[in-house]
């Protein structure tokens, strides 16, 4: 009797697979013990473990492959997540202070800075761009762009995007202290927002969808999903759809997105390819990703200082650090920093304005990058 099926498990299992199990376990540890984006890192970690036990997204007939084809290759999962995220974002702080939008644009330098470095290090354009998009500091955008340009890098890029995202409170503060003087951090900002009518908040997602889809068609699906969610939220008359977006839809999409991405982290792609040897690129992706976060923050702060100078000290450079997106963590962090310097200095509303702008700019930048690179390949 032929028992190859029985022994298959051990037969295909290599030391590299064993190491990947440890890595998967480490991701789960970060999720459970450190609460690093647990809703994503836990499924990614578990998917990584399954990927190295014969259930990867590349194994014919694996159920994770079915999920991968249904949600990643079709790009539905990141879009479904964005519908839910859009339904959770309140753009009033930005609409009330539109000039904060500029800081969102400044917070995207990291994408291109990392792209430059990655290509300098010899990565081909599609991989360099995928690595750069980690600098969008926005999971769904990074996954969406990478799926189109370099799907084989989905694992390391998603891991980098989400683990660094939860490290923001550790990565940003030292940079913020280093790059701003105490006087700058003490700057108080007038808070005189324009009134925002219901018509405005309802029209906003529609207008943004149209404009961005025309300027950066490659970003259209992402921005459309994000704005659809926001429209469901602000319409007020489709509460049941808004709730579905914020619960059923985003929960199920998040769980399976995580599993499917983890399912791409096979030993030979992530760690060691018997033919090409150790996959140094994984380490480089993780390193460059961290750099992207730093460059984003530095660029944002520099632009904040520029605005402080241009306005004659009416803008607190700290809010430059929330242009990177990472909504809403970066926004709250900046406000917290200002409060630490001066318990009477409230810049939360300005910070949230810049932060939501960063969310928009990240999607636009991702789409622009995708469009240009697709045009060049």
């Amino acid at each position: 009797m032929d028992l190859t099926d029985l022994l298959a498990g051990f037969a295909d299992f290599t030391w590299a697979n064993a190491l990947m199990l440890v890595i998967g376990g480490a991701l789960i540890y970060l999720a459970v013990a450190k609460e690093y984006e647990p809703v994503l890192l836990l499924p990614i970690g578990f998917g990584c473990i399954l990927a190295n036990l014969g259930m990867s997204a590349y194994d014919e007939g694996s159920f994770l492959r079915v999920i991968y084809e249904a949600g990643i290759e079709t790009e539905l999962f990141p879009l479904l997540i964005f519908i839910g995220v859009g339904a959770m974002i309140d753009f009033r702080p930005l609409l009330a202070q539109p000039r904060m939008a500029l800081l969102g644009a400044a917070g995207q330098f990291g994408i291109f800075g990392t792209l430059l470095l990655a290509s300098a290090l010899g990565f081909p354009l599609n991989e360099a761009a995928s690595i750069g998009v980690i600098g969008a500091i926005d999971g769904p955008t990074a996954i969406f762009v990478t799926t189109k340009l370099a799907p084989h890098l989905l694992g390391p890029i998603a891991v980098a995007a989400y683990s660094y995202m939860s490290l923001i409170p550790i990565i940003q503060p030292p940079i913020m202290r280093l790059m701003t003087t105490r006087r700058e951090r003490l700057i108080r900002m007038d808070y005189a927002p324009r009134p925002v009518s219901r018509l405005t908040v309802v029209a906003f997602p529609i207008v943004v969808t149209v404009i961005v889809s025309l300027i950066a068609p490659s970003a259209a699906p992402l921005i459309a999903a994000l704005m659809l969610g926001n429209l469901l939220r602000e319409a007020l008359v489709v509460d049941r759809l808004s709730k579905a977006a914020q619960n059923e839809i985003i929960n199920i999409a998040t769980l399976f997105l995580g599993l499917a991405i983890g399912a791409t982290m096979t030993a030979e792609r992530f760690l060691y390819d018997p033919t090409t040897g150790i996959q140094w690129q994984t380490l480089m992706v993780l390193g460059l990703g961290l750099l992207a976060f730093i460059v984003d923050t530095v660029a944002g702060l520099l632009f904040g200082k520029l605005m402080a100078f241009a306005t004659g000290g009416k803008v607190n450079p700290l809010i430059g650090a929330c242009g990177i997106s990472a909504f809403p963590m970066a926004g709250r962090l900046s406000a917290k920093m200002a409060l630490e310097e001066d318990p009477d200095n409230f810049i939360l509303m300005h910070a949230m304005g810049a932060n939501t702008a960063g969310q928009l700019a990240s999607v636009i930048a991702g789409g622009v990058l995708l469009a240009i690179v697709s045009g060049m390949l």
Partner: protein
């Protein structure tokens, strides 16, 4: 320098240019929208303009705004409680359509 790197430089220039262009366009649009679409009925918005005070007066004002902003988030997470799923379900089938029938007169208030 490798071709890839030169291409990357072009991408960076073009890309950041487009991002700033798009964002500035959005800035203009947002400014226009908030200017054009004035609030008709005066619902007490958490972001209503605050009295121009001085020093700690301003601080207090801002403090209120922050409280209000946080309130918005709390409220947005509290909203579902009053009306359970099923209630909304019927609302869809019965409630909403009935409301329509009875409110056709006062419909403009939605505008």
């Amino acid at each position: 320098m490798s071709d890839t790197f030169i291409q990357s430089l072009q991408i960076t220039a073009l890309g950041m240019g487009l991002v700033f262009a798009a964002i500035i366009l959005l800035w203009g649009l947002m400014a226009a929208m908030t200017a054009l679409f004035r609030e008709r009925e005066s619902t007490p918005s958490p972001l209503a303009p605050l009295p121009k005070g001085e020093g700690e007066g301003k601080a207090r004002a801002a403090a209120i705004a922050v409280a209000a902003a946080l309130a918005v988030q709390r409220q947005s997470s509290a909203r579902p409680l009053p009306e359970p799923p099923m209630a909304i379900v019927s609302a869809w089938q019965l409630g909403m359509r009935t409301r329509q029938m009875s409110q056709k007169g006062s419909m403009d208030k939605h505008r």
